[in-house]
Structure formats: structure tokens, C-alpha cells
Symmetry: C2
Subunit: 441 residues, 2 copies
Amino acid sequence: MGCPFGPGKFPSRRGLLGAAGGLLAAAGAARAASPDQLIAKGVNPAGQAQGRGDIIPFRGRHQAGIATPLQNHTFLAAFDIVSDKRADLVILLRKWTDAAERLSKGQTAEPLSPGLDHAAEDSGEAMGLAPARLTVTFGFGPGLFSRDGHDRFGLASHRPEALIDLPRFNGDQLVENRTGGDLSVQACADDPQVAFHAIRQLARLAYNIAEIRWTQTGFTANAAANDTPRNLMGFKDGTQNPAARPAAEDSGGAYTGSLDQVVWVGDDGPEWMRGGSYAVVRKIRMALEHWDRTDVAFQEEVIGRHKYSGAPIGKQSEFDALDLDRTDNDGNPIIAENAHVRLAAAETNDGAQILRRGYSYNDGTNITAERWPPWRQGMEYDAGLLFICYQRDPRTGFVKLFENMAKFDTLNQFTTHVGSGIFAVPRGVSPGEFIGQGLFG
Amino acid sequence: MGCPFGPGKFPSRRGLLGAAGGLLAAAGAARAASPDQLIAKGVNPAGQAQGRGDIIPFRGRHQAGIATPLQNHTFLAAFDIVSDKRADLVILLRKWTDAAERLSKGQTAEPLSPGLDHAAEDSGEAMGLAPARLTVTFGFGPGLFSRDGHDRFGLASHRPEALIDLPRFNGDQLVENRTGGDLSVQACADDPQVAFHAIRQLARLAYNIAEIRWTQTGFTANAAANDTPRNLMGFKDGTQNPAARPAAEDSGGAYTGSLDQVVWVGDDGPEWMRGGSYAVVRKIRMALEHWDRTDVAFQEEVIGRHKYSGAPIGKQSEFDALDLDRTDNDGNPIIAENAHVRLAAAETNDGAQILRRGYSYNDGTNITAERWPPWRQGMEYDAGLLFICYQRDPRTGFVKLFENMAKFDTLNQFTTHVGSGIFAVPRGVSPGEFIGQGLFG
């Protein structure tokens, strides 16, 4: 199928390698140059960064990539474990930990071994690139603890209560091969090639132990510092986020919790999760063609904010309080009952909060039917929000927030949840540890 | 199907708009603020750029986005014309020209009209963002001149000879909805949201005249200045490109043509093409999983260059001459007969050259069968090269170069061409002109 060379027309791989052996002898030094020799020549095969200011430390109390200021790009991968050996899993997590630390420094995933007659320990496309604030954040899905009732790795009794199976939400149209996963790796960097490179190296290190189940790219606009970036609907997105609000940790406001209150697992969790968090991921496709045809006033009504300023309806500034109780002279609410900001607000949800870490995604265009009159069909954008959020307990975080939103949020006519995942994100690693080590202790 | 609101459970759009009307009255000034008022407040709804250093002028002798140094991101769209009226086409090209010029300056696609009870003239997600060196480059596909033998717009006699229908190449596995198009728009910018925004506005302006046929995102690594970026195979890519070679226009080398020799149409073309070019686009998927499992020596053999230094096999430096005639002591060629660099070289192709403007693409992962033993099947990267090249005549440019490559290039086992397009790219526009105006004169 499609191979342009029929049998006999093209040398076998062995034949070509034989020829290469001959060339090696002929070509001499440059051909046989070891990585060390190349470094001596300044060729920099190890991808060692030139500048060091853009390195985010991999090790620490918390994993990087959660509270880290948003990088411009992400590549997220969920893996299925294909080995049934607990020892393989430990080998994988050790390798992944070492590689993630090296990659975060702008190094190759593993040291390159001498010689060229073997597959390289790194695919090479990040050589010479800066570390680009790469963070690699690991998560454990429900399937790591048990699958189909089977305790695959003797970990079932260690599954944290907070690592629930997500309920089916109203309107969910989840695609199986964009949903779930035993392990998750969120690579974020200011260079898309660096993020892709990181996932690719980790996937290679996982051969025969774990395989990619699904992946998703994401990006953010290059918004000016202190600007809340706009999402693809043209609205500022994340104003209520603990990290976006100015001086969130110092504000003392009723619903602007600190990261310790909102994100990090405390003494209520098992040791390996204390300082960790739980990630919920949703791939949310937006009906942008439809959205672009709607009046701005209607868009503002749906969101509950003014489009251009980002202020709550009827207010002046982005960070003005929502004041959801405001009514007009007839007693009708200023911010509609089913407006997005009302249903997403902490005060509507018993104070529930999450740390959002969303990226836009753009998967191009494909043929789709809109879900709203006049039900246009055609080539439409496959684009929207790669929603990632962190919280100390999804039951009181995302699930609490989203159950009502899934039913009542006016925005739902413009959005479809097509992918989903939930992962326990272990605490950060100390020197010498591997990720999630306490779980295997 | 999936709409979370049954009939009667959710207010109609009209009902909601009615409610919004009521709110408008209640909410007062902030709600009714016109774009001008918002600008006065510093809200900057027009997306007017703060800094001006990153604007690429839209008008000029050549269209921007061809010889412009590569921006970090592209979003490329091909459109089908759905109107049969020549006047509509002129309206569209006028609108596109005006919008592209505004967008290049970091402005909204059209001026925002007062009031909010209408769909906005701009979807808004680029507001507050810098122009990010946006370029918008327009092309005319064969279908603009005739389709199925039908002279749709009275332009058939003006179709340039050089705008051929591309032949079917050996190994082509073109997908229909990633191939062709009557019009092309290549948006490049240093911010992916700016590039996406541009295409989205142009698509909106085309309602009822033209529709998106296919799109593709692309990115480059943030390589250091003067570094040839590496592609996803980990090799430096584009070393032979006229723009990449140091002082290409001054070198006087036999096969390092100037842009006038290689890219721009001269007096041999019709007036509207003089200073224009021809674009050939190919979406080339790479079997990266397979590639990563091959020995580095084999990869170098396939490419004909050393992986880490980028030097031709047996040489020291990236920009050393290929010297394709070199042989070892047994008389065998140092660079294999079917190596990529040999087959792509100008000297192997009667001096044929093109200006490459390639981007990597990463569409995530999907289930694929490899085309090479052991024919692995599984979840593999849908990633590779969005190959774009410019030349003054595709017959002596891309077609000349690729016909042999498609048959003999060893790299073909790792690449599959899945999308394709050819477009006449008119010369740049002077003040007051619209793109391709001379064609309609």
C-alpha cells in the first residue's frame, strides 16, 4: 500500500546499513565523530542550552507545571500501560523522572552513547534549542490502580478516594480514544518543538511498558504581562482563576483561596500525594463559526461579562466583583441565571474553586454539524479549549462546579466536551527519588 | 443529538436577546459603551498594537510571507469558491486585501461599528495582541480559472501556463479534503492566535462567496538566529535553501540563485504575476515512531548528511559543498545514489531550485499502519512537514525536483504525502489596489 519501492527495486535495510559501514570507513573522522568530539567542536549535540535563565527546576515540593506561570505551548499525552509487571512500571517511572529532569535543563533525554550504529537516545530535534521553560508533569489515572476490577499492579488499595471515576455529565460527547489513560504527561514549554520533543522521548522510553493513548496540542496567545489572555471566543478567560487575580494569595477575599486551599493536597491525602494535586482534563470543541455569527450583546449575555473590557455585565473593570445579586428595576438579575460566570463562580458552588491551566487548541477544520439552528453543516473549525484544571479534590472542585454548568450554562450550545481525563498528580520529587515513589514503597 | 436543553427547557435565542435588551437599559454606560468609548478608556478594542516594530508591511512589489524571514507559526487555508458571480469574487478580493492590510498592522479585520446588537466585524481574540509579524499571502488555484472544463468567471484564457495541474507522483496518498482549492491564504505570525485569527476573519468575510476547503497549522522551533532549524527528524532542514545559505545572493555559486532567478516571476509572466510566484504545498506525514527506532548511521545515509553537525557525509561543516562526485576507494559514492540530499540537489536536477518555506506540523496521534517492516500498527504521531515552496515556474521547480525524488529517495519509507495544492501567487499590491486586480482588469 503506497510503498513506492516494490520488492527487489530497493535495497533492504540490512543492505543499506552494509553500505553505510563501508562509507564509515571511507568518510573517516567526521562520520565517526562521537558526541563528545562534536561537543568539543562546538556542535552541541546534547542540546545543552546556551542560556540558562529559562529553566524551570524539575524537582521540588510540588511538580512543576501546575502553579508555574503558563508557557506558550503544551503537548499533553495520556498513556495506557501495556506491561503487567509492577517492576516495569517502576523502571518506567525512574526513566521518566531522570529524563524529565534532563529535558527540563535542555539536555537530551538520556546521555548519547558513543557511535552511530544504534538508535539514538534522543531524536535530536531539540538540539540547540533553549529549555524554553519546559515543565513535565506526571499523573496517575484510575487504570493504574485497577482496570476492569483487576488489581494489575497490587496498587488497588492505594487508590486515593479523591481519584474518582468522573461521572457522565449532561451533554458529554466523549470520544473513547481521546478519553482516559493510565498515566498522563503534560509537557509545557515556550517552544512547541520542545514540548513535542519531551513527549516523544518519554514515549520512546516507554516502549513495551506503556503506549500513547491520546495526545493534544495547545497554545496560548502571547498576551502582554498582566493581561488575562483571550480565548478563541474573544473573551478574556481565567479572570476568576486564583493565579490570574492580582495578589490572589493576599487578597483575603471570601472566594479567592490560596493555592494551599485550592490546589495542593494536604494531610488528608496519602504521603505520596501531599503537595500533589488532581488534574481534570477536558477537550472542549467550540462552535466558532456559529459563535462568530451571534450578536456581541448575546455573547456577553451568555458569558456574563462585557466582551471588550472583560468586566462583569454592568461594571467597568475586569477585576470588579461579579455581585451576582444585582437586579434591574424589575427585579431581574443583571447577570443572567444561566450565564457562564454565574454558574462557574465559587459563590454559586459552595465556595468550590479550581486552578485553571487552559490552552486553546487548533486542530484545523473538519466536516461537522452545528448543534443549534439553523444546524449548518460543513467544514468548520476543530478548535477550542484544552481545559486543564488542578484541585485538591475533584469531588469538591471540578465535579462540583461542572455538574450544574453542564445542565444550565448557556455556553453549552457553543461547546462540546469530546475528550476527558482525571489523574492523581503526585507531589514533587526530592533528589534521588522517582515520581510517585511513595506509592510503590 | 447532544443538545443539553430539550425544547422548552431553554429560552429561545430571541428570548435571550429580549432579556439582553432589558439588561442593556439597566446596565447603562458600560454596557452600551461604543468601541470609541472603550478606546478612550484605554481598553483597546481595536486590537491596535502597542509596539510597532513587529509589523511587516502588507503592500509592496512582492506579497509578504514569501521571502519574509520565517515566523514561528502558520495557519494555511484553502478555499472553494461557492458563488458563480465574477462580481462576488472581486468584492471578496477587495475585502480580503483591506482586511489583510489591517490585520498586518494589528488592527481588527474591519472597523468595529457602534453598538453590540449585531455580529462583530472581528471575533476579538487578537485584541491587545501585538501584530507578531503577521503576513497574509494569497494564491489562486487552478479552479479559479476553470472547473470541470467550465469557465466559471471568464478567466480561463488568463490561466498562466505555469499554473499546471500537479501530476500524480509516485507514492502519493493524497486525501481529497486536504488537497486543492480555488484560493489559498497563508497566514504566518509569531503568535499562533494571531495567525488563526487572520484566517478566521477572512473566512467570515467570505461568507456565501467562498468556504474553507482545508486548513493546516504549522510551527517552527525557536532556533537561534543563523541556526538552520531542525525538523522533526532531528536533522537541520533547509541548508540548501537560497534564503538559508549565507549571503546567497552574493555567492556567485553555480546553483545558488538569487530570489529573482528562483522565486519571482519576470517578464515571461502576465502583468499580474510579475513579481509574484507559484506556491506548491504538500502535507507530508513522517513515520516518526519508525524513524526513532532506526540507527543514526542509517538516518545519515538516508539523508546524506551527518545528523548532529548537518555537514554532508564525510565533511565537517553544515555549509560545506555536497561534492556529490566523491567516491570511496572502491569507487562507491560517499553520498548514496538515493540519498535525499543528492536527489534534492540542484546539480542533480539541471539546476532546478525552489525557495522552501516549510513548517513542522503536529496534529497529535491517531491509529496508523507503518509502511515498512515490521509494519507496526498503533497510535502513532500524525506529524511531519507542512512543505511550502515558492518558485517562478513549478514545471522547472518543484515538479522537476520531486519527480525523481518520489521514485528513488530513500526517505520515502518514512514520509507520506497526504495533502497537496498549487497556487499562482500574484505580485504584491500598490496602494489602492486589491490582490490580483490585474487579472480582472
